[in-house]
């Protein structure tokens, strides 16, 4: 390989009949053209805002000026702000409510619907269909379900003479209400990922397990689950990243209330930066969220990678 590359370029045309072979893997500047469009958008829409955000978070800035350099001032103010700390806790609570639920229900649905019947195909489509709805529609639907006195839930409870739990206004239930709507909305993707993973498992392993006297539970525990471990990690990471960014459902269902108990970090950022016009502090909160998501995803990845290595 190296010898070929070392061939002087001038020798190529002169050689006439004996043309030197071309190394198709050699770097060529033309290749850059193919990635340039992506690089352009990656730089302008991702890299620049990322570093601009970091820069902003160290400045006292509003919409009219980028003001003075304040060092870690914005961050110090942030960590003294009870509402921010509350929103961090709210976000973690929400992630804790939704991610395991999505992973487990997604897995359960995939296990149930991983068969070649018409009913299974219809149900797969049905469960996935909620994913294509916009957040506005989803929250509208769930507001209709949860709304006190006239909502679907109240009506059903009413038939039995009971009072429905106040999922929107009860401080201890509001976040659970948002989580329910979110799980309903997002369940399609985990289910589809698990389904595709299940279909990758070779059928003959199951046949071998049947000959090995494995019952349903033993087959699930010893064959199916270990075979889709990687997909499980993927689903959890994707959902952590997604659910940390909760905004639309909280904004449209509860406006962060009651008493900031359902205000997630993104809503706090929105309030701070675009309603109170404190761009510097909003940027600082964004950086905190960025680091939190990064850490959560990394931790999940490292833990499962180590486990896989030991097994």
């Amino acid at each position: 390989m190296d010898d070929r590359r070392a061939t002087p370029r001038t020798a190529l045309p002169a050689a006439g009949a004996r043309t030197a072979s071309v190394d198709i893997y050699a770097p060529q500047w033309r290749n850059f053209i193919f990635v340039a469009p992506f690089l352009f958008f990656f730089t302008t829409l991702l890299l620049v805002p990322l570093f601009w955000g970091m820069w902003l978070s160290f400045h006292k800035a509003d919409t009219f000026s980028s003001g003075n350099f304040v060092g870690f001032g914005n961050y110090i103010r942030l960590f003294h702000d009870k509402v921010f700390l509350q929103s961090v806790w709210n976000t973690f609570y929400f992630v804790l409510l939704t991610v395991p639920t999505l992973a487990l229900i997604g897995l359960f649905l995939a296990l149930c619907l991983n068969r070649r019947t018409r009913t299974a195909a219809v149900l797969r489509t049905l469960f996935f269909s909620s994913s294509v709805l916009s957040v506005t529609i989803v929250t509208l639907i769930w507001r209709i379900v949860f709304i006190p006195n006239v909502g679907l839930l109240s009506t059903i409870y009413g038939w039995f003479g009971a009072t429905a739990p106040a999922f929107i206004s009860d401080p201890s239930l509001a976040m659970i209400g948002i989580a329910i709507a979110t799980v309903w909305w997002c369940i399609g993707l985990p289910m589809m990922l698990f389904l595709s993973a299940l279909q990758q498992i070779p059928q003959d392993i199951y046949e071998a397990a049947a000959l090995d006297n494995a019952n349903r539970w033993q087959t699930l525990r010893s064959i199916t689950l270990p075979s889709i471990k990687r997909t499980f990690v993927l689903v959890v990471i994707v959902q952590i990243v997604l659910q940390f960014q909760l905004f639309g459902q909280a904004w449209l269902m509860t406006r962060g209330g009651p008493n900031n108990l359902t205000k997630p970090i993104v809503l706090y950022i929105y309030d701070t930066a675009f309603r109170r016009w404190d761009l510097g502090m909003g940027a600082a909160a964004s950086e905190v969220l960025f680091v939190l998501i990064l850490m959560a995803a990394m931790a999940q990845y490292l833990v499962t990678r180590n486990k896989a290595g030991q097994a």
Partner: protein
């Protein structure tokens, strides 16, 4: 442990397609049976029905006189080695072998002893802690066999287990399987489309074609006295020579006459045959290469295949019919030469229009 297996009037359909049609077969204890046939003849389906991986539409299967066709695969007391080995990829070799025993609640010390013993038999003690992904094809094959042995089954089922191995390893594993059979004295059923595997391993071969059993017999019976034209053509390499012929039944033994006037005196009694069209069949080793004019026919050499111990001579008769003959390993024949072909009448076969066969020496 060993078992005889009885298959009675078994049929299998996939939708409108019939895969096996009213098939019956008894397999004796300790027998090594090979199902041989081309792709799609139903041999794997039959094996999977014995294993319980396919349902039996009609008929029944019994092991040691107990019906098993309604039992789940694990309760039939059999072990199977898959073509793809079907090892559990996330389990070590040891766990792969232990899985089936753990599932029936066998005590740990018995499991360990069995794994140790079968690892010793298969010379794979050093592989026990590895994962299947860290093993070569041949090693995986051993593990798959080991996983079957530890169960001490009544019968072993092999579904084309050698087809993923390279040629040298296939020959070696074949010999090892034969040794294993002698050692374990277990009933073994082996599915293959490779006639060499069938001939070398089997006590009896079941030749299958087109949903049915064509012939059941020892390897030499199948080779020397094929029951049908299909069996004659399928078993043996190169395939048996077939020539359209009419019969001269005027003497005690029939004489076959080819279209271009060549005639071969067979040792098949005229009385056994009737008028009608026949196909004359003879294996390449029963067609000698002789000087021109001294054989039954003359031909021009098209192709030579030098196999070392003998040379296969592909000669073309006057009417374009190709005949494969056999000459010594150091044959001086060259392509384009004209040679004489001497057909050994004692080894010739006749096949009727339905495919039914007649052989020399039949009374």
């Amino acid at each position: 442990m060993t078992a005889d297996i009885e298959i009675r009037n078994v049929s299998k359909h996939f939708g409108a397609m019939t895969v096996l049609d009213d098939l019956s077969l008894s397999i004796k204890a300790r027998e090594f049976i090979v199902f041989l046939g081309p792709s799609g003849c139903g041999k794997s389906t039959l094996l999977r029905m014995i294993a319980g991986l396919e349902t039996v539409d009609t008929g029944e299967i019994a092991i040691n006189n107990e019906r098993i066709d309604h039992l789940p695969p694990g309760k039939r007391g059999i072990a199977m080695v898959f073509q793809s080995y079907a090892l559990y990829p996330h389990m070590s070799v040891r766990d792969n072998m232990a899985f089936g025993l753990e599932n029936i609640g066998m005590p740990r010390d018995v499991i360990d002893a069995r794994i140790k013993e079968s690892a010793r038999i298969l010379e794979m003690e050093h592989l026990l802690e590895r994962k299947p992904g860290q093993l070569s094809g041949g090693q995986r094959q051993r593990v798959a066999i080991g996983r079957a042995i530890v169960k001490e089954p009544k019968a072993f089922l092999f579904d084309e287990p050698l087809s993923n191995l390279d040629a040298a390893l296939r020959t070696r594993t074949r010999i090892e399987l034969a040794q294993l059979h002698q050692r374990l004295q277990s009933t073994m059923i082996f599915v293959t489309h490779d006639q060499v595997e069938a001939m070398t391993l089997a006590d009896r071969i079941v030749v299958m074609n087109n949903r049915k059993i064509e012939q059941i017999g020892s390897p030499m019976e199948i080779y020397d006295r094929p029951a049908t034209k299909f069996v004659a053509g399928f078993v043996g390499a190169p395939a048996m020579n077939f020539v359209e012929a009419t019969l001269d039944r005027s003497s005690r033994n029939a004489t076959a006459r080819f279209a271009d006037g060549v005639s071969v005196q067979t040792e098949i009694a005229s009385g056994q045959t009737s008028d009608g069209k026949y196909t004359f069949g003879i294996r390449s080793e029963d067609v000698g290469i002789v000087p021109v004019g001294q054989g039954n026919a003359d031909g021009v050499v098209d192709v030579l295949e030098r196999l070392g111990e003998r040379t296969l001579v592909y000669a073309r008769l006057g009417d374009g019919q190709q005949i494969v003959g056999s000459d010594a390993g150091n044959s001086r024949v060259a392509v384009g030469d004209k040679v004489g072909l001497a057909f050994d009448g004692r080894k010739s076969h006749l096949f009727g229009e339905t495919g039914r066969a007649w052989h020399a020496g039949e009374v």
